[in-house]
Symmetry: C2
């Protein structure tokens, strides 16, 4: 046990304390709630930047470029890379190592990969809590990078302060890809690998979909920026658009904070009640038995839930 | 109000009753729980086939081919297409219309598109309940088609009896795509658009990743099938593999049923408690006030949850 409390070491920006805190929270180890409670008052200052897009769009390379550019501007950075791991390849661990090397000597950059699987309470919870730790550690900007167009990933990015959707030439040309849930969350589009054939066609395709929408006077119209993550071309323009959006959205900044607060509260409540039911209301093994009955169609899940709710609330009557 | 109860009309396979029941459940309209309870005992017979893969892989066309092939074999089919809708394009509705036409005259095919957004209680809940309705309606096979590599979509497909992951030439060549969370759920791989250049390379890439894994004697090794959904080539082979897997997995069929049962019970319980808290425990508007306090960092979400849990359980003591 360290003499200085973990929360204070996090606040001092100690990378080992940050790493340990994220692990504790990720694994829901004992003390996770107390730790999160302890750092919460120190959070709320960081700007959360979500980056999403299909696999192979070059998001990791683009995020590395963004980090380099932001470091030149003197900002401290946290990166949470949500890495869909396969049990075959162990993706997250490999990715972590490769990515850590580039910024290994820089104490103002903290990069953490998180596997999509195996989080108690879900990926969005683990990501949100890791962002809290980095926020409490004083990072100016936290980049959350997710793969794909899944609802969970979209939710993660949606609760960020700004969302960048990364597309690649070819991928955006058919309506299929454009309607794939990501159009609606983009504050900025980055067409990466812009040196490839068809980049202008992809920009035009995005523009044509945006043209279908009417924007109220003064409303934000998502810009489309061409980038080449491998060379760094367009990255400064992308960050300029991020700054422009940040200024534009400043009056409404509180509403995304509020969405995050409500999401977090509901999530904690749901877990608390499930734990209470499993450990206090039901006898050991009873939940398994109920699931067996439902599985065999001898009991329906609605009646089972009624029974459990009744017992939970009655347990406390005299 | 129809004289015949909705549950009976569903059991008779009435398409309008099925459509209405899914809407009631999707919208959590009054009577949704009673309806689900009423049909539950009639479920558990259908085989659930999950189809997932990146946008643009040709999943919809492939599913249409599967439906046509299965109809020739005399099976009745339900299709739930999870359609990531953009508010710009109204994808789900458009897709629905186009797809319905092909099988419009066939009473033994029921196709329903579901948008990824706007479901009370989440997409996985809505999809699972829609599958229950189609199961109760006597469909032999229910195909659930989702886009992407998101955790939610993967969870939906994971609880199916069999999961087909659709890849396209080119997309599977880099490790990035292969590790994208979908390797681990595939019971069968379909490399679609197999007439395209690079199809064999994609098959080889999948095989090489599979080769990294050791399969226990008698364990299922996911086969890789080349398909051309536009011409129908390979679709019969794909269905033969589905049948082969079904036979192989028959001894363990109960375990996926059990996963679905537990998922459903937990999901219902969580919603019940949240509703109870919002409508009974807290005063009107109180939750909003708590969220405001958390958002302003005057209250942390863990202490807020403690307080709400205490009040919920105390409310019933004398």
């Amino acid at each position: 046990m360290n003499a200085v409390p973990l929360a204070d070491r996090i606040a001092a920006g100690d990378p080992r304390a940050i790493a340990r805190a994220i692990s504790i929270i990720e694994d829901e180890a004992p003390g996770a709630a107390d730790l999160a409670r302890g750092i919460f008052a120190r959070t709320g200052r960081a700007y959360l930047l979500g980056v999403t897009g299909p696999p192979g769009a070059g998001k990791s390379t683009l995020v590395d470029r963004l980090v380099a550019e932001l470091r030149r501007a003197g900002r401290s950075i946290g990166v949470i890379a949500v890495d869909p791991t396969s049990p075959f390849t162990g993706g997250a661990i490999l990715g972590d190592r490769v990515r850590m090397q580039a910024h290994a000597s820089d104490p103002d950059v903290f990069i953490r990969s998180m596997a999509t699987r195996g989080h108690l309470g879900g990926l969005a919870r683990a990501t949100g809590e890791a962002a809290l730790v980095l926020d409490a550690a004083g990072k100016d900007l936290i980049i959350i990078e997710t793969v794909g167009v899944g609802q969970d990933e979209v939710d993660i990015v949606r609760t960020a302060d700004i969302s960048i959707v990364v597309m690649v030439p070819g991928a955006g040309d058919d309506v299929q890809a454009l309607k794939a849930g990501i159009m609606e969350i983009a504050d900025i589009f980055a067409v990466n690998k812009a040196d490839r054939e068809g980049a202008d066609r992809t920009v035009a395709a995005i523009d044509s979909v945006l043209a279908l929408q009417t924007f109220a006077p003064g409303a934000w119209r998502p810009p489309v920026v061409k980038t080449e993550a491998t060379t760094g071309r367009g990255v400064a323009e992308l960050l300029a658009e991020v700054e422009r959006f940040r200024e534009h959205a400043r009056p409404a900044a509180g509403s995304r904070q509020r969405v995050r607060a409500e999401f977090r509260l509901r999530e904690i409540l749901q877990r608390r009640f499930m734990q209470h039911i499993e450990h206090t209301v039901l006898d050991p093994g009873e939940l398994d038995g109920i699931v067996d009955e439902i599985s065999a169609r001898r009991l329906d899940p609605y009646s089972a839930a009624d029974m459990i709710v009744r017992r939970t609330l009655r347990k406390y009557t005299v």
